[in-house]
């Protein structure tokens, strides 16, 4: 083996070692959560990196509690509503912002971007007043409202960028065919905007699904809570026991749908996020 081949081999080994480090770094916490959730509570505090036996008792525990199932249902309702409302408003707003020429269009875009810069804590108390004023306290509708506020700017920006790239002549052809703006949006633009909609919709879904601060603040009772809060409030037999097993089981349960969704949409996410980066 000569020197050239040696260097080549060393480079290859180094490359895969680096990948291994990155993978372990990224996946280990999740992996540990998964194996923890599959252990009986008696083995929880002995450190082991492999699973010796499969124990589903933690899963049985959380699903036998009605409040966790109820929380999942709440999360699904809230997240899907946020996605639906954000896409509906986002598409119509992006048509106006991307296609209709009017004075102050740039300002509107900047204000929308500016709003999304605020940290959640900054608007928490104000939003709390709004939600109480609207009578939405301890109601999933209050969460839908507040999540939509934080999701819309991103949705509108991405969809507007995408909308601007659709050729003007396409819209004019639709006008010549007698289409109203609504028909143009729903029957000509929508079918072409699926990649962008999948991206923004999925990101909106993840944000709503994982949100904790608003969900904690704006809900009071068990039957109105969403999953992140429900997990945080899982309590053990006594004040001094943190039930790690059920917490991990619950966390894995709510993360898996996200992973699956991302797997399904991953190609579209990439094409949606890079849309507009290069002419193509």
């Amino acid at each position: 083996m000569n020197r050239y081949q040696l260097t080549k081999l060393a480079k290859r080994v180094g490359f895969y070692a680096l990948i291994a480090v990155v993978l372990v770094y990224a996946i280990f916490p999740f992996y540990y959560a998964v194996i923890t959730s599959l252990k009986p509570s008696s083995e929880l505090f002995t450190v082991s990196y492999w699973l010796d036996s499969l124990d589903l008792s933690n899963y049985v525990t959380i699903f036998s509690e009605g409040s966790f199932v109820r929380a999942i249902l709440n999360s699904v309702i809230v997240s899907l509503s946020v996605v639906f409302i954000a896409l509906l408003l986002g598409i119509t707003a992006s048509y106006a912002l991307g296609r209709v020429r009017f004075r102050g269009r740039g300002t509107v875009m900047l204000v929308i971007l500016g709003v999304s810069m605020f940290p959640q804590v900054a608007v928490l108390s104000g939003l709390f007043e709004v939600i109480r004023g609207l009578g939405l306290y301890n109601n999933p509708a209050g969460l839908i409202l507040s999540y939509t506020i934080f999701t819309l700017p991103f949705t509108v920006w991405v969809l507007t960028t995408f909308m601007k790239q659709l050729p003007m002549e396409l819209e004019e052809a639709a006008i010549m065919d007698g289409a109203t703006p609504w028909v143009t949006i729903t029957r000509v633009f929508l079918p072409l905007m699926w990649p962008a909609m999948a991206t923004t919709g999925l990101l909106a879904f993840i944000a709503a699904w994982n949100e904790f601060l608003f969900a904690l603040t704006f809900t009071l009772t068990d039957d109105q809570r969403t999953v992140p809060v429900a997990i945080a409030l899982i309590s053990g037999g006594s004040q001094h026991e943190l039930p790690w097993g059920p917490i991990m089981a619950a966390s894995v349960t709510v993360t898996v749908p996200l992973v699956v969704l991302v797997m399904i949409f991953q190609k579209r996410i990439v094409s949606g996020l890079t849309a507009g980066a290069v002419k193509g």
Binding site: P167, E169, L170, I175, M176, D177, G178, P191
Partner: protein, 368 residues
């Protein structure tokens, strides 16, 4: 099918006055071509007729109806776009049926019209394909089919062939001409290519800077350009222009002096013009004749281009820098480096004043 009447149409975008007082009458069944350099307003004028832009001032009528304030779908116009603008997610059939569906036609009517249109354009085999699976020429035909399917009274074409390669362009040009013969509908066609304009049009409208320079048949525009702009724009290779000075002239004719050629007697009406007025002499490349010469006024042949069926000879005047072009059938006896004299034919010369207007020619002898 319908006529179109433009009455002092104006279009203003912000501070830009794009279309200035355009008057035009387009007859039922006519094929009219708007031609001009880029930025002359020809596309804007077409979009005003289509209803994609609003008219700032003036009156536009289709048939007997003033349509200024009607949306495109109520004007009865169909349009073919430069980029085709086919709906990428729909099949050819759906593309052509879209407008009919929106007009709430019955399923049978839609099918019947789409099939009839497809037959005319030979698209029957392609009805179930999506636009991305079609060639450029096929997309072009689908775009025409979509515009035709609703049976508009007027068909508008916005530079429809400029995305095609040269040989396909000639073929599609031919197809459009045959389509017009067959349908007999009113068509308005925008192009910057004067060959397309000459070959397709019943009537050419030459636009320059938002104004109509001249309206006429291809023959009229070629034989009797009213302005220097039209003279230079129509015809390829372009008309030769030489500076000239008026010597004497009246309503029956005039004499002009041109450097390198000498004095010429021309049939143009020069009444009301003073002697020594600066003019421009225009002569088409095929109307120049050359003769061997050696005197001070001779032109030198700087280049000879052989095109197979014809030959272009480029001449350099002694004191000028603009080359003149002579065109003749191949073979040509002229060679680079030869010195020649120009022998123009007075019957085929044009005279323009400094404002660019042509001096009207007295009727030819044949007519007298």
């Amino acid at each position: 099918m319908a006529s179109v009447t433009l009455n002092r149409i104006n279009k203003v975008f912000g501070r830009d006055h794009i279309i200035k007082d355009v008057d035009l009458a387009i007859g039922d069944g006519e094929f009219v071509v708007f031609v001009g350099p880029s930025g002359c307003g020809k596309s804007t004028l077409l979009r005003l007729i289509a209803g994609l832009e609003s008219i700032s001032d003036g009156e536009l009528a289709i048939g007997d109806t003033v349509v200024n304030d009607l949306p495109p779908r109520e004007r009865g116009v169909g349009m073919v776009f430069q980029s085709y603008a086919l709906y990428p997610h729909m099949t050819v059939y759906e593309n052509m049926a879209f407008g009919l569906k929106l007009a709430k036609e019955s399923q049978e009517t839609i099918e019947e019209r789409v099939m009839a249109t497809a037959r005319i354009l030979q698209l029957e085999e392609l009805l179930h394909r999506k636009p991305k699976a079609l060639s450029g020429g096929q997309r072009q035909r689908v775009a025409m089919g979509r515009a035709m399917a609703r049976e508009p009274r007027i068909l508008l074409f916005d530079e429809p062939l400029s995305n095609l390669d040269a040989s396909l362009r000639v073929q599609m040009r031919n197809e459009i001409a045959r389509l017009h013969n067959r349908l007999g509908s009113t068509m308005i066609y925008v192009t910057h290519d004067q060959v397309e304009a000459m070959t397709l049009a019943d009537k050419i409208v030459v636009l320059n800077g938002g104004r109509v320079e001249q309206v006429g048949s291809p023959h009229e525009l070629y034989q009797r350009p009213l302005t220097r702009f039209v003279a230079g724009f129509i015809g390829s290779p372009t008309m030769n222009f030489l500076p000239a000075t008026l010597v004497t002239g009246d309503a029956d004719g005039c004499r002009v002096r041109t450097a390198g050629i000498g004095e010429l007697a021309l049939p143009q009406d020069a009444s009301g013009r003073r002697a020594d007025e600066a003019l421009t002499l225009g002569v088409r490349p095929e109307h120049l004749r050359l003769a061997e010469a050696s005197g001070d006024n001779a032109f030198e042949i700087v280049n000879v281009e052989y095109l197979g069926n014809e030959v272009y000879v480029y001449l350099e005047p002694r004191d000028g820098d603009t080359l003149l072009i002579h065109r003749s059938e191949a073979p040509s006896r002229w060679q680079e480096g030869q010195r020649v004299a120009l022998v123009p034919d007075p019957e085929h010369l044009h005279l323009f004043d400094t404002a660019g207007h042509a001096l009207p020619a007295r009727p030819r002898r044949a007519a007298a």
